[in-house]
Symmetry: C2
Subunit: 127 residues, 2 copies
DNA sequence: CGGAATCCCCGTCGATACTG
DNA sequence: CAGTATCGACGGGGATTCCG
């Protein structure tokens, strides 16, 4: 996905983009769908999402925490233990996301079929 | 959003990513929310979305068309006229997207408030 | 264990210009 | 009008290394 500025002025004005942009990245949706099953530790999420790097998991979780969608609980034990849980805001958000995930699962075949059928419009001079 | 490969093998296996990735980009959601109001011409969408470049609009529309979410009708008149309309697949998809947009609008304040409250976790050695 | 810091690649997007 | 072509930059995110 492409770089480019993410104009903060525009974000202020646009609630949609502001919130939805988080779904743009590779991991947020995947992480949320694991968190759905309840409280999880950092390493547990890692195991479930499998090919996420610790760096990206940390970043994804911090974004979610920052937006008030996920709660982070630190237990100052040794070894350290950190748990992540949806807030109620997060749960209500995930409901909608879930609706989209389900749609994607249900209609994946239709979409893939459409992609296969698709032929590039030869400019407009359809010969 | 960032470059990096988009492993096609993984996409094949993952319906979620496959479909939802489209929402990651800057414009798809905006364009869809205009198309909601009915059939629109290329230039009409441009006027409504305002700061989208012709390049990005064309690309966004082609993606939607490719996925079978939007229908493209070309009238070989002069000057050319091209209309875009949701397919029924697209409409059913947009229903879910709309649910998220509405959530975003409703909870935008809560999210922004959470962001403002947020203080970076000073590593874990909470002094 | 749960991260943070650094390095670097490369896909996306934006701006600009051109065409049937 | 409805696009396409080319270019360059930005910044996401992977790999790796280190730390409390």
């Amino acid at each position: 996905m492409g770089g480019q500025k993410k104009n903060p002025e525009l974000q202020k004005a646009c609630p949609v983009r502001d919130v939805l942009d988080r779904l743009g990245d590779r991991w947020t949706v995947l992480v949320m769908s694991e968190l759905q099953s309840g409280t999880l530790r950092f390493s547990e999420i890692r195991k479930r999402v499998m090919d996420i790097s610790p760096r990206m998991l940390a970043q994804t979780l911090r974004n979610l925490e920052q937006d008030g969608l996920v709660k982070r609980d630190v237990y100052p034990t040794v070894p350290p233990k950190v748990e992540y849980t949806f807030t109620s805001l997060g749960e209500s958000f995930y409901e909608r996301v879930k609706a989209m995930i389900d749609w994607a699962a249900d209609n994946h075949d239709a979409v893939r079929a459409a992609r296969e059928r698709y032929v590039a419009p030869e400019a407009h001079h359809a010969k």
